[in-house]
Amino acid sequence: MIDRSEVVKMAALSKLELGEEEIAHHQDTLGQILDYIKTLDDVDTTGVQPTIHPIHLELLLREDVVDGVLSREDVLKNAPQSQNGKFAVPKMIGDT
């Protein structure tokens, strides 16, 4: 089990509104996941470098050349609302 407050905080960070029942549910299921992962705590990792990427791939680079620009029409195609060629979103508080 994890604290109710932790679930509430994570929900807020993820912009989710959870009801009381859902909070209790996630306390339980997230707790179970964390308990399961805790198994790893039993492994002695002294002297072992942290694994950042489980698969070692070479980083591919691209040349600094213009490519793949979308038309403004396409850019805004999935936007529920746009205005003056810009995405229109619910008002953000702040900045000015």
Partner: protein
């Protein structure tokens, strides 16, 4: 209250937009000032299934910044996701660097009022810029333009080593000069290519660090200075009245000269950084690092030193000339064309050239460095005197003719013929016995005679010879 009892402690975070053609992880262009949402690729939109591919220029640019600031370059470093929700960040995370940035533990030395100052560089990391949002007053919506989303940045984080607004401005000017010398950033503060956030706190002298406020997005050196001074004053006043400084982000209002709390939704900042699984580790080989090291140009500090040691310039002159790479280039080209009197060349650039043109535009100045060298050569071989040189300079502003051509065409050659000068002097002495009397009592009157000779000879007389002849003749016993 007295600011004397208080110390200001400031650290800076500078965001430099890297001067690439395309974005850090997509091929969309980074051109400033284009119509909204026309510089956008699917990666910048964060569409499902897209993958970021790193722009090869970005690593080299970040390493150059690191080497110029004497950092350790982490030859294995990582991109990480910084998670937060905001409409100008479509993916829901910014690709940045967290635990393993590309550069760490550097320093920057600069001069302020003749005093050397060192600021530690905590780290430099690569990241993508966010889009830009605007808010319409009285309407329930905000508008988002993603042209800037994905523009490559390096963030240069300093240690809290600065103790005054003047130190911050000197640090920023030196840093800006360096990124311009390196050619990695255009340094345009108005367009936001070079942006500074300052963390400001105050403490009683010698006490523990106080709580800091972050001043964000200030876009001129003057505003940075004013904002820091206001903010330090505000904090001292607040504490002395028994209040507590709250850690927060503040903005600066230049019209009112005050800082104010940035209104944000109350939320805990918890970015939950983790390595970006889409981007493998960045591995920099010794060979790559050495190749980039070799590409580094001579930097402002090295130029200043060389100007002082090779050309015997003053600290001030070398600072002015080295502060902008275009000016330094102008100076050096001019010296290449005429190398005998670097101090004179420096004076002409600082006093005359930079009065006529902005430092950044000096590369396009109508009097090219070679033309200026021609003028200085004429001064040096005494073809013209200093006063006539200024006249020739003025004329050079409006024609393409060389200094020599102007001097010839206008008959401005200096008269060093002592016979010609003597006859003018003789006549002057004869016509002005009263002034000669005055001179005997007051040797300062010599200036009047010099002026009269110059006037009679249309400013073309060799002033040294005029002086010699005048002194000789005026001190002769009356006949």
């Amino acid at each position: 209250m007295s600011m004397q009892d208080w110390e200001i402690v400031i650290g800076c975070e500078v965001h430099c937009q890297l001067d690439t053609q395309t974005k850090i992880f997509s091929g969309a262009p980074t051109t400033f000032g284009m119509e909204a949402n026309t510089q956008v690729a699917s990666v910048d939109l964060g569409l499902p299934g897209v993958l970021p591919v790193l722009n090869e220029k970005v690593i080299g640019f970040a390493i150059k910044a690191g080497l110029a600031l004497e950092c350790t370059i982490n030859q294995v470093n990582e991109f990480a996701r910084k998670n937060y929700f905001y409409p100008d960040l479509p993916k829901g995370y910014q690709i940045s660097q967290a635990e393993l940035p590309i550069c760490e533990h550097g320093k920057l030395d600069f001069f302020l009022n003749g005093q050397s100052k060192r600021v530690g560089i905590t780290r430099i990391h690569m990241e993508e810029d966010a889009g830009k949002s605007s808010h319409l007053s009285g309407k329930p919506i905000s508008l988002v333009d993603l042209n800037r989303a994905g523009t490559p940045l390096v963030e240069i984080v300093s240690e809290p080593d600065m103790g005054s607004a003047d130190e911050v401005v000197a640090y920023l000017k030196e840093l800006r000069a360096i990124v311009l010398y390196l050619g990695i950033c255009d340094g345009n503060m108005e367009e936001g290519s070079f942006r500074c956030d300052a963390n400001v706190s105050v403490r009683k002298r010698g006490a523990e660090l106080g709580t800091r406020c972050e001043l964000k997005n200030i876009n001129s050196f003057k505003f940075i200075k004013d904002a820091i001074n206001y903010e330090a004053f505000r904090q001292v006043e607040l504490i002395e009245a028994g209040g507590l400084v709250r850690q927060e982000t503040r903005l600066y209002n230049p019209d009112r000269g005050i800082t104010f709390t940035m209104r944000t939704k109350e939320e805990a900042h918890d970015y939950r950084y983790f390595p970006d699984p889409d981007l493998p580790s960045i591995v920099i080989s010794d060979e790559e690092l050495e190749a980039i090291r070799k590409e580094l140009p001579e930097l402002p500090a090295e130029k200043r030193e060389r100007y002082q040691s090779s050309f015997s310039l003053s600290v001030y002159d070398s600072e002015v000339l080295a502060a902008d790479k275009h000016v330094a280039q102008y100076f050096e080209t001019s010296i290449d064309a005429f190398s005998k009197t670097p101090k004179i060349t420096a004076n002409w650039i600082i006093n005359e050239v930079l009065r006529e043109t902005k430092a950044s535009d000096v590369g396009h100045f109508t009097i090219t460095p070679t033309r200026l060298a021609g003028l200085i050569a004429l001064l040096d071989d005494k073809t013209i005197n200093g006063k006539i040189a200024k006249t020739v300079f003025e004329k050079m502003l409006t024609t393409a003719a060389s200094a020599e051509e102007i001097v010839s065409a206008e008959g401005l050659r200096q008269v060093s013929d002592s016979g010609a000068i003597e006859s003018v002097v003789d006549r002057l002495i004869e016509e002005n016995p009263d002034k000669v009397e005055q001179y005997r009592a007051k040797p300062k009157m010599l200036g009047w005679f010099v002026g009269q000779v110059m006037k009679a000879m249309k400013g073309k007389a060799n002033p040294a010879i005029v002086n010699d002849i005048l002194v000789k003749k005026l001190n002769e016993e009356p006949k």
